[in-house]
Amino acid sequence: MLDSFRVALIVTKREVRDQFRDWRIIIPILVLTILFPALMNFTAKQAVGFIQRYGAPMVGERLIPFLLMIVGFFPISVSLVIALESFVGEKERHSIEPLLSSPLNDWQLYVGKLLASILPSLMASYLGIAVYLVGIFHQVGWTPEIVLLVQILALTTVQALVMVSGAVVVSTQTTSIRAANLLASFIIIPMTFLIQGESVVMFWANYNVLWWAIFGQIIIAGLLVRTGISHFNREELLSWELDTLNLRWGWRVFWTAFSGQARSPFDWYRREIPPTLKRLGLPILLVAASLMAGLYLGTAQIERFALPAGAIKIENLKEGFVKGLEAIRFVSVGSVPIVWLHNLRALVLATFLGIFSFGVLGLIVVMFPLVIIGYFTAAVAQAGISPWLFLTAFVLPHGLLEIPAMILAGAAILRLGATLAAPAQGRTIGEAWLYALADWCKVMIALVIPLLLGAAAIEVLATPRLALLIFRN
């Protein structure tokens, strides 16, 4: 393993040396390493002096660590540019083929280039932080706490890793530097939001939150690296000349995966649905476990967010269940189509979010109703009502259909999102995604939509009657 890694480092070493031969990379790094920290030192000193005149030293104290974070972030922005052209740049310069024809494995080539994109900018970033710290110590005598310094260094490192791993994925999947630069918005915009959020945390001075930001970015970087290696494809790097959106091809791939060999709708159910469910086996288990976890999480929240005594009212269920929170109802007052469409809308939202988050946000949306049910079950129990009776009256009748539908939909969403990070098994990233989309459509059309329709009918027509019957007695 170590020997294999050494081979990856051969690529890294060459690329880093090559970067240091390019003045267009050296000059921005030098400016951001030496001049920018000095400018930030000056800014910090002026700001602290200005704010102290008005008796608000706290703002100055918060500004210094914030600028420390910014000084660390700016040089790693260069790594984005380097990473974006790591593969596609070589493709444009026609130097990629000898490299692809060498005995290097995919991961060695990928990791070698990934490290080459990160290391120079990251070193510059650490140097910039050191320059800033030395300067600020001399000017205002400020030194960071060790934990804060570790956090800033870790944050800088994971930010570089997220940006570079995302940019390298873009670089392997595009056919020109121009296209890669255009797609860079998908990295720059989320990173901008992230930096804004981190800035709020720095001014809020709740530095423990930074650990969550670091943890979250490690997960994202891991998923992006996995996506990049899983979909690294020598053929695509060599063969693709144009970034064309071939809708006809896309439709054909999708339709082939969706319809299979079926000759009629009944044949389609019989032939296509069982293997699709088999493919979704692991996601189904994961979603089922997540829903259970969501239920538990909901019940656990009652300890932290207890309802006031008397808040639960079951006298007039149609007017709401919780005093003051009348919108929360466990007895539906809408018609069957409205309830059905509401549930479908939630699943469409979950799908949309899942596509852009490796399935994670979609799973959270699907989990959310179970968290609420868990919470109110615990609240009911706290109010002296049997939680089992509550579940039997309000959840079980339509839940028998709705919960399996949520599990199936959640599994299809999770697979659709996670496809980007999963091995492509000989398919292109587009093909793999279209196959996952076909599975999502199959599950939705064959199972989820009918199940949700049945659940909506029960929820509107049967559940209220059963609840009234149980609680009247």
Partner: protein, 317 residues
């Protein structure tokens, strides 16, 4: 050394290589000829384990191109269509980098890099950046890269393109020198005289299929018919048709010359000479009409599909 069976490659709706079956033994040089887009480079890329086959299989140096891709790539020296050099790197450092990728120890790298640079007349440019090199120098450096690890299989895509005649001669001589009992060489080229000079066998590819395969002389025989000979006379024929031995077919005739085809020249040419002299025709010369590979190539690529199928059915390839 190279064995392929029904090797095919499809890109979406386009079948780039269609059922290539061939065996190239150790010590053999095969030239792949064909128009642009015929599937030569795609075939080479499959043999380098860069592109996976869509159908069929291939073994290179005893390794499967899909299952043992790294070993295949380590056994192959490739000169790509685009030489793919790093312009900012000095030539010596560039070769050293590829030597490292191919797992050569430091001492062997140093020796091989020096040897290759010297072989191609680039030793004095060792520390020069590749960006300063001419096209020919770049091509020579790319060839040096392909040979650096002394591979048993050499795949050369357009080895002398963009070279001046002197450099092209140097490269061709190098390829001659590289021939050995242990090494297999496949050359893709549009330069037909180069192919004829270097190759033991020639494969002509059209629309992804090998339409003819054989030695240059076999191909000339199969596609252009039996050898043709020209007799030049010291006097005009005046419209006379000389009596020639049986089996001789006169193809064309001029004022003082005639051409004929003969599948058995060793036996029939002396008889032709005797017959002409017996008829008092003053023979000045008798020589074979040179048939070029270009004629073979044009004949092959313009061959109607039905004839191609017939040739396959008769296993003429």
């Amino acid at each position: 050394m190279i064995v392929t069976q029904n090797l095919s490659k499809r890109f979406d709706d386009f079948l780039a290589v269609d059922g290539v079956t061939l065996t190239v033994g150790a010590g053999e040089v095969l030239a792949l000829l064909g128009p642009n887009g015929a599937g030569k480079t795609t075939t080479i890329r499959m043999l380098t384990s860069v592109l996976p086959p869509w159908r069929g299989w291939a073994q290179v140096a005893g390794y499967d191109v899909v299952k043992q891709a790294s070993k295949v790539r380590a056994s192959v020296g490739i000169l790509t269509e685009q030489h793919g050099l790093y312009a900012r790197m000095p030539a010596g450092e560039y070769l050293d980098f590829f030597g490292q990728l191919y797992g050569l120890p430091a001492a062997a790298r140093k020796k091989n890099v020096g040897r290759m640079l010297e072989k191609f007349g680039l030793l004095s440019y060792r520390n020069h950046r590749i960006g300063e090199f001419s096209k020919g120098m770049r091509q020579k450096l790319a060839l040096a890269r392909a040979l650096l690890h002394d591979p048993p299989v050499l795949l050369l895509d357009e080895p002398t393109s963009a070279m001046d005649p002197e450099s092209a001669r140097l490269v061709r001589d190098s390829i001659h020198a590289l021939r050995s009992a242990e090494r297999t060489i496949v050359i893709c080229t549009h330069n037909l005289s180069e192919a004829e000079e270097l190759a033991d066998r020639i494969a002509i590819i059209r629309r992804g299929r090998i339409i003819v395969l054989g030695s240059p002389s076999d191909l000339k025989q199969k596609l252009l018919g039996p050898p043709e000979f020209e007799v030049r006379l010291g006097s005009t024929l005046n419209g006379q048709k000389p009596q020639l031995p049986q089996g001789i077919i006169v193809t064309t005739q001029g004022a003082n010359w005639l051409r004929y085809q003969s599948s058995q020249p060793e036996q029939l040419n002396p008889q032709v000479l005797r017959a002409l002299l017996a008829q008092d025709f003053p023979v000045i010369s008798l020589q074979e009409v040179v048939k070029s590979l270009e004629q073979v190539y044009l004949q092959a690529i313009n061959m109607p599909d039905e004839i191609e199928s017939e040739m396959e059915a008769l296993d003429v390839r």
